[in-house]
């Protein structure tokens, strides 16, 4: 542990991180957002899920610094009278949860499929990659509409509220796994002809062992880089689905569903319900993408070897 830490301190990764102001800034903002999201119940002024905190008389109050604003609601309230800041923080938590969960699912599926296809080759490769092609040719919105429609009929709208988070993770996860499968397959095909794989076969290791212990770790760099971008994409997908009413329900709003609920009232002057969650969402996606860009530059073997 101690040794690993010392190695990390001397690593090129940390060195280039310290050189890059954008990376440091993004990292700080991302960590702040993550902490805010994860510690939502401790940080947010109210619990937006608790009906006791909601008073319909407080609905559509503007931010506190405007004329009609009230000091107890810093960023104003939404249409149901919930404190907007608290709702946003809880929404942020949901967005992060769904984003990471979906990427985990995509990654797991895509990496395994890509590894099998790339290493075993032949018919298995052809079948798996055609499945990936078919999956990519379905627009994920269509898949989402189908699945949530079927789900709502099967379990009823009441259960939907409880199960919306895992459902969204599955929908977004299933929609994008071919991205991983293709990337991993490409780098596995490059790795499997290297001599260390041959040497592992000469040693007498079995093919599963070679695939998962020897080839897979060597493809992890590209997986890491696309993962950051995929988290940002998944959060955006979730927001888009929620905006269309296919995502999180209004009682448990994510950033996307908050934007949507605000959008209906934007012409009556309630701009804050849309604007603040929007800014939050943009900030989150932006810092993840900036970090991803930085990571890609650092790990690019063409720019740095060793």
């Amino acid at each position: 542990m101690n040794r690993a830490w010392r190695q990390f301190k001397a690593s090129y990764l940390l060195f280039s991180f310290k050189q890059d102001k954008t990376a440091i800034f993004s990292f700080v903002v991302l960590v702040a957002l993550l902490i805010t999201g994860l510690l939502a119940p401790l940080i947010s002024p109210y619990n937006p899920y608790d009906p006791a905190n909601i008073d319909i008389m407080n609905s559509e109050l503007p931010p506190s610094w405007t004329e009609a604003g009230q000091t107890e609601f810093i960023l104003g309230t939404d249409i149901q009278g919930r404190d907007l800041l608290s709702t946003m923080i809880y929404g942020l938590r949901l967005s992060i949860l769904i984003g990471c969960g979906a990427v985990l699912l995509q990654g797991l599926l895509g990496v395994v499929v890509g590894l099998l296809a790339g290493y075993l080759g032949g018919k298995i490769d052809a079948v798996l990659m055609r499945i990936a092609d078919i999956q990519l040719s379905f627009p994920y919105l269509m898949v989402a509409i189908f699945i949530s429609a079927i789900f709502q009929i099967a379990f009823g709208i009441g259960r939907y509220e409880e199960l919306a988070v895992p459902l969204l993770i599955v929908i977004i996860g299933l929609a994008e796994w071919p991205v991983y499968a293709r990337t991993v397959r490409a780098s596995v095909m490059g790795e499997k002809n290297k001599e260390y794989v041959e040497a592992a076969r000469v040693i007498g290791l079995n093919r599963w062992h070679i695939m998962f212990r020897h080839v897979l770790p060597n493809t992890m760099t590209s997986v890491l880089v696309i993962s950051t971008i995929q988290v940002a994409n998944a959060i955006m997908s979730e927001a888009a689905l929620s905006f269309l009413g296919l995502g999180m329900p209004v009682t448990k709003p994510s950033l996307g569903s908050l934007i949507r609920s605000g959008f209906e009232y934007i012409f009556s002057g309630s701009w804050w319900i849309t604007l603040f969650p929007g800014v939050f969402l943009v900030l989150l996606v932006l810092v993840i993408n900036l970090l991803g860009d930085w990571l890609r530059d650092v790990l690019n073997p063409k720019l740095y070897k060793g």
Binding site: A199, R201, I203, R213, N218
Partner: protein, 329 residues
């Protein structure tokens, strides 16, 4: 004494669109327990393919089309993939040319050594680590305890080849196939590694097949030598006899091409022409277009093996007379 390894009329073909290509055309040689054999020849002569054929790891579209490989009397060509895996790495190890490439860059060498042992023996991590440590000491890696936790990029080329040798020795194999083990290293390290390999093989009575194009290395290390040309053995016998009085014109050419015997400033000797591609090997003796002695019979008939030096040596050449003691044919 029983042979450790006996290769009998081994034939390897590669299935191509245009038909089967014969890469190894009926070669035979044998190796005693603890013996050291050199396989010598130009690039493309089939040396490495022979090495891979012995452990049945010829990559597609190649396959063994005929012949037998007897290892301790057991025919390896008839074994299943599962049985073969038990032999590979356990009884027969292989060392490759480039130590930069043969170690997995993302695993520590300790992990790589432990998993080799665990693949063949039912032992705990700790016990495997102890064996790994012992072998690293054997190949003279300084402070091996610390080194076990390091990654391949933290070692120099020579050190890496030592580690590769240590991995090959882990399971105390009876045979090591070394495929140009020193080609990627610089000359001073080459000598060290070859010495080390020879020492270790002698100490543990391990058989060694050394695949190389460097006659200098072969003459220092091996007892027997087989010279390959275009997928065939053209001359085989005890190393000192073959090197000191080569019979086959190709072997003579190879030995003439060594720069050691020349005056400084003179041009290096070379064998004129190139080895034929395997797709169009000339009829008769494959070497005839490049051979100064070639005659009509060389263009028509494949030369049979001629036994010289009272059965110690076999030469495939029409121009060599049986029991011809040294000298020019």
């Amino acid at each position: 004494m029983a042979h450790l390894l006996e290769v009998i009329d081994l034939e390897v073909k590669f299935g191509l669109r245009t038909g089967n290509l014969t890469a190894i055309n009926g070669i035979s040689f044998s190796l005693d327990k603890g013996g050291r054999l050199g396989l010598v020849g130009e690039s493309g002569a089939g040396k490495s393919v022979t090495g891979f054929a012995i452990i049945k790891l010829i990559s597609k579209p190649g396959f063994i089309s005929a012949g037998r490989v007897l290892f301790n009397g057991q025919d390896l060509t008839s074994l299943s993939a599962e049985q073969m895996r038990e032999i590979r790495g356990n009884h027969i190890s292989m060392i490759f040319q480039d130590p930069m490439m043969t170690l997995n860059p993302v695993l520590t060498i300790g992990t790589q050594m432990v998993e080799t042992l665990q693949a063949h023996r039912n032992i705990t991590r700790e016990a495997a680590q102890a064996i790994a440590l012992k072998k690293l000491k054997k190949v003279q890696i300084p402070s091996p305890e610390k080194r076990l936790g390091q990654y391949p990029h933290e070692f120099s080329g020579g050190m890496r080849q030592r580690i590769v040798i240590a991995i090959a020795l882990l399971t105390d194999p009876e045979l090591i196939i070394a495929d140009e083990p020193t080609t990627a290293l610089d000359v001073t390290i080459q000598a060290e590694i070859m010495d080390l390999l020879q020492q270790l093989c002698e100490a543990q009575h391990t058989g060694l097949i050394l695949i190389t194009h460097d006659l200098g290395v072969v003459s220092q290390v091996t007892e027997k030598i087989a010279v390959m040309y275009a997928g065939k053995v053209v001359e085989s016998g005890p190393t000192d006899l073959v090197v000191n009085s080569p019979q086959h014109p190709y072997t003579q050419g190879l030995i003439h091409a060594l720069p050691g015997s020349l005056q400084p400033g003179t041009r290096l000797n070379q064998i004129p022409g190139m080895m034929p591609t395997l797709t169009d090997i000339p009829p008769g003796c494959a070497f005839n277009p490049r051979c100064a002695l070639s005659d009509t019979i060389c263009r028509q008939q494949e030369p049979p093996f001629v036994i010289v030096d009272s059965a110690k040596r076999k030469v495939a050449c029409h121009m060599v007379k049986p029991n011809d003691k040294g000298g020019q044919p």
